[in-house]
Each structure stands twice: as structure tokens, then as C-alpha cells.
Amino acid sequence: MLEIKDLKAEIEGKKILNGINLVVKPGEVHAIMGPNGAGKSTLSAVLAGRADYAVKGGEVSFNGNDLLEMSPEDRAREGVFLAFQYPVEIPGVSTTNFLKTAINEKRKYLGLEPMEATAFLKFMREKMELMEMDKALTSRSLNEGFSGGEKKRNEVFQMAMLEPKLTIMDETDSGLDIDALRLVSAGVNKLKDGERSFVVITHYQRLLDYIVPDFVHVLYKGRIVKSGDASLAKELEAKGYDWIKAEVEQEANT
């Protein structure tokens, strides 16, 4: 599904990603962990196509397409979804209207007719029930005045509506209390179907108690320096990141 080869990127001349390699197969859940400033959010931004970041080398293929050549909107239409760490507010635009526009833009790209209003509303109702969404949220302006937890739940709800092939979750757990964390994770788990893949970026292990990863990777100084299974996350939780930093420095010195 997703194949990242030696990806290098910088922002304003500052090197952030220094050669990332990662292969995500259909149905897999990959967690990417690492200390602050390791390049976790940059990786998600580059994959989604944010213009501020300059790609300086490497390749990313998504279902056989050259992802880096595609516009952000085409990446989304091909099935890449980014759950934002800080979802933006769009005053005056309801979540319903926003999603209807998004779905119909995607359908247009795929050569399909726009979804009928009634069919759309029915589809949305189903997804709202599935995600246990509060009806009031969908008629309010997108993210405006939402609490941190509501914003993150709205991200997961949007994911359910847009049915992506690959979801990148950028520190979705940050700023969530334990109840909100449970709700968000439960939402994600409901969307796992053996085909959809997830790249879960997080600073803390606690999210991975709820969304259990198949693989855990540690990002440090713009590289994946260690990979393992779910137990690696537990080890990080217990021991912190310092031992990994030390390992990397030692390797660099020898």
C-alpha cells in the first residue's frame, strides 16, 4: 500500500527527515513513536502534501502511484487521510456541508455522479451511529468552539465518512483525557477491516493500549532507528527514549 524509500525533507533550509524507510501493507497498523523534534509531524505533513515542506530526496509510492507528484487533494481522493493534530476551524461551514463537498469532490475525481442529498444524509446517519457522534456537532460550524476531544472525534468521524485506504493519525491522543481517548480509539478500531492501513503517530504509549499496533517504529533525528512489535512501545514507556538516543549516538561514534 505505502512504500517510503529514503525520504528526505526540510523546512526553511532545516533538515528534518534524513532518509525514512517504511513499508505499510494493507490492513497493518504501524505506530511511529519518538521524542519531541524527531520529525514525526513532518512525516505526516510531507505524506499529506503540505507545501511548506520541501522534499529533498527519496520516493513514496502509494498503491503504485508516485505520491509526491500528486496534489494534496488528489492524495486525499486516492485514499490518504490525515487526522490532524490541530484541526482548523472553518466558521459558517457545517460539518455536514463540508463532508458533502469533500465526498462529492472525491466522487467527481473518480468519475462518479455526486451523491444525492437523501442518500448522503442516510450515509451520514449510519456513520454517526457507528461513531457514536452527537448530532449537534454535525450542524455546528466545522470545529468552531469544539473542545479538544470533540475536534479529535470529529476527525475520526470524517475518516469514517471518507473511507480512506490509509489513515495517518498525527498525535491524535494529544490533549485528550482518558474518556475521550477511549472513544476516539474505539472509533478507529471499528474502522479496521483488514484492508485499511493506519500509521499512528504518537509520543506516548497509552494510545497503543487501545489501538494495538502490528509494528512500532522509533523515529529519532529524522530516521527510523528501531523497529519492533507492540512490546517495543511498552519498553519505551518503561525506559523512556534516552537509551535509544544513547544507542544511536554510540553507533554514530563507532
Partner: protein, 481 residues
């Protein structure tokens, strides 16, 4: 924001959809403005003597005036002797029957999406179509007549309803009001006349569609709406013009009179040709619009969506004379490329317990400048007058400007006036967020701008709200990256 600037540079004067011209034989007045021009217009309309006298008085007054210069934009001086003041399709039109209207004209309005044939009409909307200086057709007149409602062209009203015209014409905007009002009073050609009798709720939207076609002509329409006690009417005007390289002047006057307990809702979707991306051509939209709440508990509500014109310069206003009367002004003004707008409202509180509300949304893109100018005045005797003003500006790109000039004059201690203002910029973050959900940049801007204007667009009659939304998106096409 490097990419954003690039894309602004690519702004092409995107096709103005209504820029075509109609080839039809016209009868015009000779270029220029003299007493003879006014006599010519008056005789073309076979007007009674009192109307001609009024025009001539206004003309004399106008000759003593110079054009105002306090506005927050500049434009080359208009040569008033280089304008044609009257242009009408040659064929004599009998207003009663559509069959007698030149098919070329019917086609023109079809092309503009305005069907004058009642079989194909928009449900619940009666239309008066004005082409250059004359009204072409007014639909649904008979159905409206059954309720005692008068909806006709101004020329017709002068003949058929002289008492009402004499009583109210010029009563809200006298010809001495300002330079353009004086000019309009002297040379006004056509426009709509509406009278809603006591206690009648007008069963359909009334609408006038203005089309400038002829070259070198100005359009000077005059609209008068009278809502008698306890009546209600919702009226909408729309306007387009061909793409021409020279600027054309549009100086209209609109007067609204709401008697006791009456309500007038007046909506404008203005899409005159805005000129090309370098600012060549386009309409000068210099209009005086004012309403008076004459009776107690009367209400006047202005809603305007201004996307066209090279320059928009107007302040639809309310004089709140009756006690407990209410004035509202909801405005969206969009400027792109080299367009300029200096627009807002005046709320004059005279009666007790009068209330006014102003919601203004200005959007500036390209190298355009967008000014809100508003006056809230509370007179000595206007006890407990209240006003709330909300004035929001949105900037797209970094070469446009937004300006706000609020004037507040309070002469009564019990008055309560609130003013809120904000300026924002469409953020890269908002656009990227939309992109990430599969929404392209142009659609994203349309969505964000429409959200920004939601409060105002909600005021428009259903039939036109959708049109207005599309118009906003089209006006800003190619304005950001």
C-alpha cells in the same frame, strides 16, 4: 506564502458569464446632457407636465453641483457630456403582451437565466425586466392585481398612478440630496414601481432584472416601493452588463416607504461587469438607496450581495421615524483584481425605541480595496434607540486592502450603540485542511468565503441564495493558492 503569490499572479480576468451583447436596433438620445436631453426623455415617455418640471428643476440644481470627492477610492473624472442618457430598443413594445416583445430581447433574458415567459417562471417570483432605459416586461401583473398590488414600470406608474407617484417620489431621496441623486432625478429612465395595499402580504417575491446593453450609455433607474399599513413585500434586484472597455455609469435611486406595521425586505444581487484584471472597463455603480419607516412598528431590511462593478459606491440606509421601527442592513461586498468598493449604510434613529442592526462582510482579493463606511445617528428625541453593528473583513492574498470607517453620533443619553469589527485572512491552514479532505483550492475558498458570509446569505430569499453562493465562488476564482 510563495505559492499563494504565484497563483494570484496567474489571476486571469476569468470569463464574466454575462459579458455578451445583444444586437438590436436602438433608439437613443444624442450624446450629452442639456435641457433638450431631458425634454427628449420626457417626451419619449409622453410624461405629464409635472414630471417634466420636476426633472428640469433637478437638472438646474445638478448644474450647480460638483461631484463629491470624500470617497475612499479614486477614479478618473466622468465626462457627463460623453454619455448617452436614453437608449431603448426601437420596436414599440406593448407592455401587456409578451408576444409582442422582440424575440431577440426574450432571448437575451433567457440567456441571463431570467425567463419572462410565465410558463417557465421561477415559482413564486414576479419579474420586471429592464433593458437599458426601458422596462421590457413585467410578469404576473394580473395575479398581483387581484390583491390590489401594483407592480409595474416607473414610466407606467407615472401615467397610471400619478397620485401615489406625486406623493412619494423624491420624498425619501430628494433631488437635493446629492450629486448623483440630482442627476438621476433629471434623467431617470425606468425602474420598478411597487405598491402593496393595507394589510396585504405580497404572495410572491417581486424582482427586477436590470441589464445594461448599449454602448456609451448610462443607466439611471428609479425604483419606488410603498408598503401601506400592515403589509409585507420582499423585493429582489439583479443586474448584469456586457464586457466593454470603457466605464459605464449606473446612478440609480431607490426609495422605500414603510407605513405603520409594514415590512419591506429589499435584496440586491449586484453583478455588473467588474472590468478586466487590469481594471479596464466595468461599471461605476453609484447608487442612492434609502428607506423610511414612516409609521410605528415598521421594518425595512436591506440585504446586498455586491460582487460586480469596477466601483461600488452606495449606502442603503434607513430613516427610523416611527416609534418601535426597525432597520436592518446585511451586506456582502466582494472585490477582486482592481475592483473598489466603498459601501455601508446609515441608520438614522428618530423615533423612540427604534432598533437597527448592521452586519457587513467585506472580502478583498487581488489588488482590490474594500471599504465599509457606516453612520449610526441617534437623534435627541429617539429615546432608547439601539444599534448593533458587526463589521467583518476578510483578506485573500497580501495585496488587497480592507478599510472601516464607522461614524457614530449619539444625541440621546438612553441610546445604546455597539460596534464590533474583525479582520481575518484566509489561512493556508484552512485551505490545506480542505485540500486534505479532497477539496481543491478554488472550491475551498468558495466554501470558506460562503461560510464567512453565511449570516448575510441566510437573509436572501431561498430562490436566490443558491445563485448568490455560486456567484461568490466565481467572483473569487483564481484569487488565491
Amino acid at each position: 506564502m510563495a505559492e499563494e503569490v504565484d497563483i494570484i499572479d496567474q489571476v486571469v480576468g476569468q470569463e464574466y458569464k454575462y459579458g455578451f451583447t445583444t444586437n438590436i436596433e436602438m433608439e437613443t438620445a444624442p450624446k450629452g446632457l442639456t435641457e433638450d436631453t431631458i425634454r427628449f426623455i420626457s417626451s419619449k415617455k409622453t410624461e405629464p407636465e409635472w414630471m417634466l418640471e420636476y426633472r428640469l428643476k433637478a437638472f438646474k440644481y445638478w448644474q450647480g453641483l460638483t461631484a463629491p470627492s470624500w470617497q475612499n477610492f479614486s477614479y478618473p473624472a466622468v465626462d457627463y457630456q460623453n454619455i448617452i442618457y436614453y437608449a431603448a430598443p426601437k420596436e414599440k413594445i406593448t407592455l401587456d403582451s409578451l408576444d409582442q416583445v422582440d424575440p431577440e430581447l426574450l432571448k437575451t433574458f433567457e440567456k441571463l437565466g431570467i425567463s419572462l415567459s410565465e410558463q417557465k417562471r421561477l415559482t413564486g417570483v414576479a419579474v420586471d425586466a429592464v433593458f437599458d432605459s426601458v422596462s421590457i416586461a413585467t410578469t404576473f401583473k394580473d395575479q398581483l392585481k387581484e390583491k390590489g398590488i401594483i407592480f409595474c414600470s416607473m414610466s407606467e406608474a407615472v401615467h397610471e398612478h400619478p397620485d401615489l407617484v406625486k406623493k412619494y417620489l423624491s420624498s425619501v431621496v430628494p433631488y437635493t440630496d446629492n450629486f448623483f441623486a440630482a442627476l438621476n432625478a433629471a434623467v431617470f429612465s425606468d425602474g420598478s414601481f411597487v405598491y402593496i395595499p393595507k394589510g396585504v402580504r405580497c404572495p410572491m417575491e417581486l424582482s427586477t432584472y436590470f441589464r445594461i446593453n448599449a454602448e456609451n450609455t448610462g443607466q439611471f433607474e428609479r425604483t419606488l416601493i410603498i408598503a401601506d399599513e400592515g403589509s409585507y413585500v420582499s423585493y429582489l434586484e439583479g443586474c448584469t452588463a456586457p464586457m466593454r472597455d470603457e466605464n459605464q455609469l449606473h446612478a440609480a435611486v431607490v426609495e422605500l416607504i414603510a407605513l405603520e406595521n409594514a415590512e419591506i425586505k429589499y435584496s440586491t444581487v449586484q453583478n455588473w461587469y467588474p472590468g478586466d484584471k487590469n481594471g479596464k472597463g466595468g461599471i461605476y455603480n453609484f447608487v442612492t438607496k434609502r428607506g423610511i419607516c414612516l409609521g410605528d412598528y415598521a421594518k425595512i431590511s436591506w440585504t446586498q450581495v455586491e460582487t460586480g462593478s469596477a466601483i461600488t459606491w452606495k449606502y442603503p440606509s434607513c430613516i427610523l421615524k416611527g416609534d418601535h421601527s426597525v432597520g436592518e442592513f446585511f451586506s456582502v461586498a466582494v472585490t477582486n483584481n482592481m475592483q473598489q468598493a466603498d459601501t455601508g449604510t446609515k441608520m438614522i434613529h428618530i423615533g423612540k425605541n427604534t432598533k437597527s442592526r448592521i452586519v457587513s462582510k467585506g472580502i478583498s482579493a487581488g489588488k482590490s480595496h474594500n471599504t465599509y463606511r457606516g453612520l449610526v445617528k441617534v437623534n435627541k428625541k429617539a429615546d432608547k434607540a439601539r444599534n448593533h453593528t458587526q463589521c467583518d473583513s476578510m483578506l485573500i492574498g497580501d495585496r488587497s486592502g480592507a478599510h472601516t470607517f464607522p461614524y457614530i453620533e449619539i444625541n440621546n443619553k438612553t441610546g445604546m450603540v455597539e460596534h464590533e469589527a474583525s479582520t481575518s485572512k484566509i489561512g493556508e491552514d484552512q485551505i490545506f485542511y480542505c485540500n486534505q479532505r479532497g477539496i481543491g483550492t478554488e472550491e475551498a475558498i468558495g466554501l470558506i468565503v460562503n461560510g464567512f458570509c453565511r449570516e448575510v446569505l441566510n437573509q436572501l430569499p431561498m430562490e436566490f441564495a443558491v445563485e448568490a453562493q455560486k456567484l461568490l465562488a466565481v467572483s473569487l476564482e483564481g484569487s488565491v493558492g
